[in-house]
C-alpha cells in the first residue's frame, strides 16, 4: 500500500474531474481487506513465514519497522519534531504472545500523540481492526511540572502465527539540536525504514554508523532502507554499543562548514573556550584571595596543586554526587553558582563548578595553562575523528599544562584521588582549547597494579565441616572507587546485606556475615577496608573419613563469567585489576591434609593469569591458601587496536577470552581433602 498510496498521490490528482466519477469507485473496489483503513498491503512472504527469518530463535520479528522523523517546524516559533512510527510484527511462539500481550506507547509533557491505529491479521488472513474504545489512555506520572502518559492496547485473540500492525504519530513541541537513533530493538527486523527530514533552515549532518547501508537523499530528506537487522545484542562485558550496533546520528550546526570534521572540531574548540570563560576565572578576587591563604607556605607549585585539589574535594560539597550535608530539599533550593567566586563563597558546587574552581586555582598556582577539557567516555563510544557530534568526547576534565606535559584531573567526580580519572576516561582522547588553538591529547592508561582487591580470611574449620572466622577485604584504585560510590548512601547494615547478597549468597547459600566494619569509606586516598565475621555451616563436605572443601573461599561456587560458547561481539573490561587472596584455615583436630590432594598449578593467559599455592603448617594445624589473579587489560587494548585496524572486529575475540576465564574458573573450583588421622 505504500506503493499504492504514492501512486494515487502522484497520478490521481492529475485526472480530469469527470474521470473521478469513474476512477474513484473502482479504486475503492481495488482496495483489499488488508488495505482498508489506509494500511499497506501485506507481502505474501510475510503471510507464509512459519518461522523467524533473521534469528531462528526469535519469538517475534518485526516484518516492517518504519520511523519518519520530520523536524520541519519554524525556527522562530512553534518548534516541533514529528515522529511517525509504523510497526508490523509476526508472532511465532507462545512466549511471543506473552511478550506482546499489551502494547504501551508512553509519552510525556511536551508531546502529542495522534493517529494511533492498530490491527491484527490472523493466520487465516481475517483482519480485526482496533476501534477507538480499544485504546486506553492513562496518566502514569504527575509531579506538578511534568506528566507522563501511556496509551495501551491489546490485540484481540493474539496467538502464534498472527501478524500485528500499529502506527502512530508523536509530535514533540520543541526542537532538538541532535538526534540519536539506535537501529536495533528487542526483536529482529526484516525491513527497516528510516526517513529523516531535517530543519531546512539549518545546516545538518546525518550519519549511520556500523552499517554498510547508504543514505538516499531526496530533496532535503534522507532515506535509509535496511534489511534483516538482528535484535539488540545482550551479553556480559560488551564493547560499547555505539561501537558495533548500527545507529544514526543527526546533528545541526549554524554553519554548514562546521560539519566537516576538521571544522567541526574547531567549532567544538570554540565552544570549549566559551565554557572556560565562564567556569575558569583565575583573576576573580575571591579566587586570588583563597589561593593566597591556601598556598601560603607551599614549597612549589606542585604542592599548591595538591592543596588546591584537596580543597576542592574536601571543602566544597559536591552536590552532583551523594552528600549527607544537605537534604534533598535543601539541594533543590540551593542557588546556582555562576563563577568560581560563588563556589568559594557558598561552599558547594556541581561537578563542573568544582572542576572550574580547581582549574582557576591551578592557574593561580602558576601552571602554564589550566582549562576544562572534554574527554572520551570509552564505555559509551570509542573516539573516531570523523564521527562528529556531542556524543564524541562527552565527559569533562581539567587539563593542566605542566611545562610541556599535560596533566589531567577530575576533582568534580566523587572519590577520585589526585590526578586520577574515571576508568572510562583513561587512555582516551582529550580536546583542550585556549584562546587561539585547540589541542588533541590522550589520557594515560592504567596498570593492573593500581587497582587491587586484597582478600584475607582467618578461619577455623570444625569437625562438622562448619567454617567460621574473620574476613578483611581491602580495595584500592578502581576496585575501591566503584564500591565507594555504591556504598556512599548505604548504612553498614545495607552494605552487609549487599555483601551477603552479591558476594556470598549465590556461591555459598548458607553464608552468614555479621559485625561489619567499614574503613576508608569516604577518603579516596586511603584503601577501602571491610572487616566482618563469616560463618558458613556445612562448608566442607563429608566423604567417609575425609572432609572435602574448596580453600578458595572467596571464589568457591563462582559461575563461569562467559556462558555462551561463542559470540560475534568482543569483550571489554573497564580497567585492569589484581585479586590477591590469603586464606588461613585452621583444621579440626584429628585431621591432616591429604598428600597430593591439591594442585598448585596456575594459569597464564594473554589477558588473565592466576598463581595459587597451598601451605600446610602441621604445628599450627593451619592451612594457608594463596591466590593471585591478574586481569591485564593492556593486552585487551592491544587486541582492540589490532581488531579495529585489521580485522574490523569490535573488541578482542570472545572465544579467546572465554577460554582463559573458563580455565581460571576451573582452578577456582578445585577442592582439597583432609583425612582423619
Amino acid at each position: 500500500m505504500r506503493c499504492a498510496r504514492s501512486f494515487f498521490g502522484r497520478h490521481l490528482k492529475r485526472l480530469p474531474w469527470i474521470l473521478w466519477v469513474v476512477v474513484l469507485p473502482s479504486a475503492l473496489d481495488a482496495s483489499t481487506e488488508f488495505t482498508k483503513g489506509g494500511w499497506d498491503e501485506v507481502p505474501e512472504e510475510e503471510f507464509l513465514a512459519e518461522s523467524p527469518k533473521v534469528d531462528p530463535d526469535a519469538h517475534i520479528e518485526f516484518l516492517y519497522r518504519g520511523l519518519e522523523v520530520s523536524d520541519t517546524g519554524g525556527i522562530t516559533s512553534s518548534f516541533q519534531t514529528i515522529y511517525k512510527y509504523h510497526y508490523r510484527l509476526k508472532v511465532f511462539t507462545e512466549a511471543g504472545v506473552e511478550e506482546l500481550d499489551k502494547i504501551d506507547i508512553p509519552y510525556e509533557t511536551g508531546w502529542r500523540l495522534r493517529g494511533l491505529k492498530a490491527r491484527i491479521i490472523f493466520p487465516d488472513r481475517t483482519v480485526v481492526r482496533l476501534e477507538r474504545e480499544d485504546f486506553y489512555k492513562r496518566e502514569l506520572f504527575e509531579d506538578g511540572r511534568f506528566k507522563g502518559y501511556v496509551q495501551s492496547f491489546s490485540f484481540p485473540g493474539l496467538r502464534p502465527g498472527c501478524i500485528v500492525e500499529y502506527r502512530w504519530t508523536a509530535v514533540r513541541q520543541y526542537w532538538i539540536p541532535s538526534l540519536y537513533l539506535p537501529m536495533l530493538t528487542d526483536w529482529p527486523t526484516w525491513d527497516y525504514y528510516l526517513r529523516v527530514s531535517p530543519q531546512r533552515f539549518l545546516a545538518s549532518r546525518i550519519a549511520a554508523f556500523n552499517c554498510r547501508y547508504k543514505w538516499e537523499k531526496k530533496g532535503g530528506d534522507f532515506h535509509l532502507h535496511v534489511k534483516n537487522l538482528p535484535a539488540s545484542y545482550e551479553g556480559p562485558f560488551l564493547v560499547p554499543r555505539k561501537d558495533f550496533e548500527p545507529w544514526v546520528h543527526m546533528g545541526y550546526a549554524t554553519e554548514l562548514e562546521d560539519l566537516d570534521p576538521d571544522k567541526y572540531w574547531g567549532y567544538r574548540g570554540g565552544t570549549l573556550e566559551d565554557i572556560n570563560d565562564d567556569y575558569v576565572r583565575p583573576r576573580q578576587g575571591a579566587v586570588k584571595k583563597l589561593a593566597k591563604t591556601l598556598f601560603e607556605g607551599a614549597k612549589d607549585r606542585e604542592e599548591m596543586l595538591h592543596r588546591a585539589y584537596d580543597y576542592c574535594v574536601s571543602q566544597i560539597i559536591n552536590i552532583s554526587g551523594y552528600t549527607d550535608f544537605y537534604s534533598e530539599q535543601e539541594i533543590e533550593d540551593l542557588k546556582q553558582n555562576r563563577s568560581p567566586a560563588d563556589v568559594i563563597k557558598r561552599g558547594y558546587g556541581t561537578r563542573s563548578d568544582i572542576n572550574g574552581l580547581f582549574a582557576s586555582l591551578a592557574s593561580v598556582a602558576g601552571f602554564e595553562k589550566a582549562y576544562l577539557g572534554q574527554v572520551e567516555n570509552r564505555s559509551d563510544h570509542t573516539f573516531n575523528y570523523d564521527q562528529v557530534g556531542f556524543f564524541c568526547l562527552s565527559d569533562w576534565l581539567v587539563a593542566v599544562l605542566d611545562g610541556t606535559t599535560w596533566r589531567f584531573f577530575d576533582p568534580g567526580s566523587t572519590f577520585l584521588p589526585f590526578e586520577t580519572l574515571n576508568p572510562e576516561n583513561t587512555n582516551g582522547r582529550v580536546i583542550v582549547a585556549d584562546e587561539k588553538y585547540y589541542y588533541w591529547r590522550k589520557t594515560n592508561p592504567v596498570e593492573a597494579k593500581s587497582s587491587n582487591a586484597i582478600r584475607k580470611a582467618t578461619l577455623q574449620l570444625s569437625e562438622e565441616g562448619d567454617l567460621q572466622g574473620e574476613v578483611v577485604v581491602s580495595f584500592t584504585g578502581y576496585e575501591a572507587l566503584w564500591r565507594r560510590r555504591l556504598f556512599a548512601e548505604m548504612t553498614n547494615q545495607e552494605i552487609e546485606d549487599y555483601l551477603r547478597d552479591e558476594d556470598w549468597a549465590n556461591r555459598c547459600p548458607r553464608a552468614v556475615i555479621s559485625a561489619l566494619e567499614v574503613q576508608g569509606k569516604e577518603d579516596p586516598n586511603q584503601k577501602l577496608e571491610l572487616r566482618y565475621s563469616l560463618e558458613i555451616p556445612a562448608y566442607a563436605e563429608f566423604a567417609g573419613d575425609r572432609l572435602i572443601f574448596n580453600p578458595s573461599v572467596f571464589e568457591k561456587g563462582s559461575a563461569p563469567v562467559f556462558k555462551r560458547e561463542d559470540r560475534a561481539i568482543g569483550v571489554r573490561f573497564e580497567y585492569p585489576f589484581r585479586e590477591y587472596d590469603d586464606v588461613s584455615i585452621g583444621i579440626p583436630e584429628g585431621y591432616s591434609l591429604e598428600t597430593g590432594s591439591f594442585s598448585d598449578v596456575g594459569f597464564a593467559g594473554s589477558v588473565l593469569n592466576q598463581n595459587r599455592k597451598v601451605e600446610f603448617d602441621e604445628t599450627a594445624r593451619t592451612l594457608r591458601f594463596l591466590r593471585l589473579m591478574v586481569l591485564d587489560t593492556e593486552a585487551f587494548e592491544r587486541m582492540v587496536d589490532v581488531g579495529a585496524r585489521t580485522l574490523r572486529l569490535p573488541g578482542p575475540p570472545y572465544r579467546e577470552v572465554k577460554v582463559q576465564f573458563d580455565e581460571v574458573n576451573r582452578l577456582d573450583a578445585q577442592d582439597l581433602s583432609l583425612v582423619r588421622e
Binding site: R138, E142, S327, Q329, G544, I548, A559, S597, R666
Partner: protein, 661 residues
C-alpha cells in the same frame, strides 16, 4: 547617603526578621503531642518507630465518606529512612486525596513543610491495560537523619456503597499509639472485632466510636511465616446503616457469607449474556465431544487461551467484582480472571452446563477468616463447574447444596483441566451462589501432588567428566511449571536454563539435547536431558577423585537460626524421589559411599543410601515434605531436620584409581 544606607540596612533587617519568622513553622497539635509521647519497650533496637497513626472515618450518608489520616514516624537510624515515604493509594474520581501536608522535624528542631506540590502521583497496577488506581508519593527518605520525625496528614473523600473496614494497628516497626475513629450518622450501628496479640480499647460516645491500641511491638518478617493479616493486631468493622438509608442510597452490607455470595453472584451473573456468537462458539468447541467431561474440557481449554490482561475501573463501586460482558471477552479474546470466568460460564451455559463463579485469594497474603464475611478478602476469581459425569479429577470437590463441582482457573494456562492449581490448594474460597452460607476449604496439596521422580544414568571418565541422561518426571505443580517453561521459552533460552540448573553443582555443563513429553491426563511432564559435564568429579591428587552424587536440586537452604523464631513456620508438601546411577571409569574403584541416612520427622521424611553394583554406584534419595505448621517452640526440631538433610545432600563419593595391575 548615610541616611539611605541606614534605611537600606533597616529594610534588610526587617526582611531577615520576617524570613526567620516564616521559617519557624508551627506543627499541628497532634504532631506536637506525638513528638512528646513516651518511648515504649523494644524501641531501642528499632530503626524507626511509628509515634502516631490515626484514621478518622466519617460516614456522611449518600455513600459519602470523609476521612482524615495522620501518621508520624520517628526515624531512629538511617536504616529506617524508607519510613520517610508517604505512599497513599486512591482510586479514580470516587476517591480523592485533599489537603495533603507533611513535615520533617529535624533533631535540631528545624522544620520543613511539604504539600501535594512536593509529591508526585504514579499509576498503580502498571501491568494492567488500564487501571484507575493511583498512588500519591512523597519521598523524603533522602533527607532524614537519625532523630528526624517524618509526619503527614491528609483528607480523603470517597464515594462507595461498601461499609466495611479492615484496620491494622501493628506494623514491622514498633507503634506507640494507633487509633481508628468512626463517626456514623444517627441510627447507624457498627459491628467490630479486634484481632491479634495486642489489646484494643473501644470507646463510644454518641455516634462516635474510637478504638485505640498502644505500645504495639514490631512484628518480625520471617521466612515461611503465616499471612501477616493473621498475625497483626487489627480491627474488623462492618457498619450497618438504617434500613431507610440503606434502601435509599443503595448501600451494600454483609452480615453473612451468604450476603457476600449473593453480591458476588449478582456482579458475575450480569455479564453472562448468551449471544448467537457465543452459542455458535460453544457449539463449535464441543462439536464431537461425547460426554459432559469432554464438553467441559473443550470449553475450559479454549478459555485458557484467552490472553490475561486486566482493566480496573469503578473500584470503589465494586468494579473489582464486575466482569466485562462475556460476549466482549469472546470478541476481544483478552481479559482478567473475572472476565475469563464470565466467558467460561457463558460458553458452558450455551451447552447446558451450569457453573458458578468462585472468589479466592492468591499471592503472599492468603488469610481468609471464617468470621468476617467480606468481599475485601478476595483478589482472584475462578469457576466451579457442575459435574454430573461420574469422572473423578483432583479438581472435583463437593460443594454443600450444589454437589460435585470441578474447580477450574482459566488464568492458569499450564494446569490441565481437571487439576487443582497449586496456588489454590488448601485455600478458602467463596462459591458465589445464593445457596452458599460458608467458605469452602479446597483440598490441600499432598506430597504426591507435588512430586519429581528423577532417574539419572551417567558415566564418569578418567578425568572426572560426566556424560549421560537425566530423566525428570514431574507430577502436579512441578509438571505445570515445566509445561509453562517449555511453552514460553525459545530453544536457546530453555537450553540455557537447563544448563544453568545443572552446572550449579557440576561447575560446567553442556546440554546436548532435551526431549519433552507432556502427559496432561495424569498431569505429568517428563523431560529427558542428555548432558555432559567435563569437570564433574574433582581430582584429589592423582589417585583420587570425589563428587557429590546429589548434584541436582539438593537442599541448599536451611532456615535461619541466628535469632529466636517468633512466628509459626509453614511447611508445604512436596516430594522428590531420585535414583542416580554412576558408571565408574575403568580401573577406578569406590573408596567410600555416602553414609546411609534415615530421617523421620513430623514435617518431613528423608532417606539417602548408596551401594556399588559391579562397575556402577547407585544412590537412592527420597525427600518428602509434609504440610505442617511448626510453632516457635518446635523450631529447633525443624532446624535440626533441615540441617541433617542439607549435610547429607552434600556428602561425597570418593573414587580411587586402581594401580595394582
Amino acid at each position: 547617603m548615610k541616611q539611605f544606607t541606614r534605611l537600606f540596612l533597616f529594610i534588610l533587617a526587617l526582611l531577615a526578621a520576617s524570613s526567620s519568622l516564616a521559617g519557624r513553622e508551627k506543627l499541628p497539635p497532634w504532631l506536637e503531642e506525638a513528638r512528646s509521647s513516651a518511648p515504649m519497650a523494644g524501641e531501642a533496637e528499632a530503626d524507626a518507630v511509628i509515634l502516631w497513626d490515626s484514621i478518622e472515618r466519617t460516614y456522611a450518608g449518600r455513600q459519602r465518606v470523609e476521612a482524615r489520616e495522620q501518621r508520624a514516624v520517628l526515624i531512629k537510624a538511617r536504616d529506617g529512612r524508607d519510613w520517610a515515604i508517604a505512599n497513599i493509594g486512591f482510586v479514580g474520581r470516587d476517591d480523592q486525596v485533599r489537603s495533603f501536608k507533611a513535615w520533617l522535624v529535624y533533631p535540631s528542631g528545624r522544620i520543613e513543610t511539604f504539600t501535594h506540590r512536593d509529591a508526585f502521583t504514579v499509576a498503580a497496577e502498571m501491568e494492567s491495560l488500564y487501571s484507575e488506581a493511583k498512588q500519591m508519593v512523597l519521598d523524603r527518605s533522602g533527607s532524614v537523619r537519625p532523630g528526624t520525625i517524618f509526619a503527614y496528614e491528609f483528607e480523603r473523600k470517597e464515594k462507595t456503597p461498601f461499609l466495611q473496614d479492615l484496620r491494622v494497628f501493628q506494623s514491622r516497626i514498633p507503634v506507640r499509639d494507633s487509633r481508628f475513629v468512626l463517626e456514623l450518622p444517627r441510627g447507624w450501628s457498627v459491628r467490630s472485632e479486634a484481632v491479634g496479640p495486642c489489646s484494643v480499647v473501644e470507646e463510644q460516645e454518641g455516634t462516635r466510636w474510637v478504638w485505640k491500641s498502644s505500645n504495639l511491638p514490631a512484628i518480625k518478617v520471617e521466612p515461611n511465616q503465616p499471612s501477616p493479616l493473621s498475625l497483626l493486631t487489627g480491627l474488623r468493622l462492618s457498619v450497618e446503616p438504617t434500613g431507610k438509608d440503606r434502601d435509599r442510597d443503595d448501600y451494600i452490607c454483609f452480615q453473612s457469607w451468604n450476603d457476600v455470595a449473593r453480591f458476588a453472584a449478582g456482579a458475575q451473573d450480569s455479564a453472562l449474556t448468551l449471544t448467537d456468537a457465543m452459542v455458535a462458539k460453544a457449539r463449535t468447541l464441543t462439536d464431537g465431544a461425547r460426554s459432559e467431561t469432554e464438553r467441559i474440557r473443550a470449553i475450559a481449554q479454549y478459555a485458557q487461551t484467552v490472553n490475561y490482561l486486566a482493566t480496573s475501573m469503578d473500584l470503589n463501586q465494586g468494579g473489582g467484582f464486575k466482569p466485562r460482558k462475556a460476549e466482549e471477552v469472546l470478541e476481544k479474546h483478552w481479559g482478567d480472571c473475572k472476565d475469563m470466568v464470565a466467558l467460561t460460564r457463558a460458553l458452558l451455559k450455551a451447552v447446558g452446563i451450569e457453573s458458578v463463579a468462585v472468589f479466592a485469594t492468591v499471592g503472599d497474603d492468603t488469610f481468609v477468616p471464617h468470621d468476617w464475611p467480606s468481599p475485601k478478602l478476595f483478589n482472584h476469581c475462578i469457576v466451579a463447574i457442575n459435574m454430573t459425569d461420574p469422572a473423578t479429577f483432583p479438581g472435583v470437590v463437593e460443594v454443600p447444596r450444589l454437589g460435585r463441582m470441578l474447580i477450574f482457573d482459566p488464568t492458569q494456562k499450564d494446569v490441565p483441566v481437571g487439576e487443582l492449581p497449586g496456588s489454590l490448594a488448601g485455600g478458602r474460597v467463596l462459591v458465589a451462589d445464593e445457596s452458599v452460607d460458608a467458605l469452602l476449604e479446597l483440598p490441600a496439596a499432598r506430597p504426591e501432588d507435588n512430586t519429581v521422580i528423577r532417574e539419572v544414568h551417567v558415566s564418569l571418565d578418567q578425568e572426572g567428566g560426566l556424560v549421560g541422561t537425566i530423566r525428570d518426571e514431574a507430577v502436579g505443580a512441578p509438571a505445570d511449571y515445566l509445561r509453562g517453561l517449555v511453552r514460553t521459552s525459545s530453544r536457546e533460552d530453555l537450553l540455557e536454563f537447563v544448563r544453568d540448573w545443572i552446572q550449579l553443582r557440576t561447575h560446567t555443563a553442556k546440554v546436548v539435547k532435551i526431549d519433552t513429553q507432556d502427559i496432561p491426563g495424569a498431569n505429568r511432564y517428563v523431560w529427558t536431558i542428555e548432558v555432559s559435564a567435563p569437570n564433574f568429579a574433582r581430582p584429589l591428587g592423582d589417585a583420587l577423585m570425589a563428587f557429590r552424587p546429589v548434584f541436582l536440586s539438593p537442599l541448599e537452604w536451611v532456615p535461619p537460626s541466628k535469632e529466636p523464631r517468633t512466628t509459626d513456620y509453614i511447611v508445604r508438601a512436596w516430594k522428590v524421589e531420585e535414583s542416580l546411577w554412576f558408571s565408574l571409569p575403568p580401573r577406578w574403584s569406590v573408596e567410600n559411599l555416602p553414609e546411609t541416612q534415615d530421617l523421620e520427622a513430623s514435617f518431613a521424611q528423608y532417606s539417602l543410601a548408596g551401594e556399588q553394583l559391579d562397575s556402577q554406584v547407585v544412590v537412592r534419595r527420597r525427600f518428602e515434605s509434609r504440610n505442617d505448621v511448626i510453632p516457635p517452640a518446635r523450631y529447633d526440631e525443624l532446624l535440626e531436620g533441615y540441617e541433617r538433610i542439607n549435610r547429607a545432600d552434600k556428602s561425597q563419593i570418593v573414587l580411587r584409581a586402581d594401580r595394582g595391575d
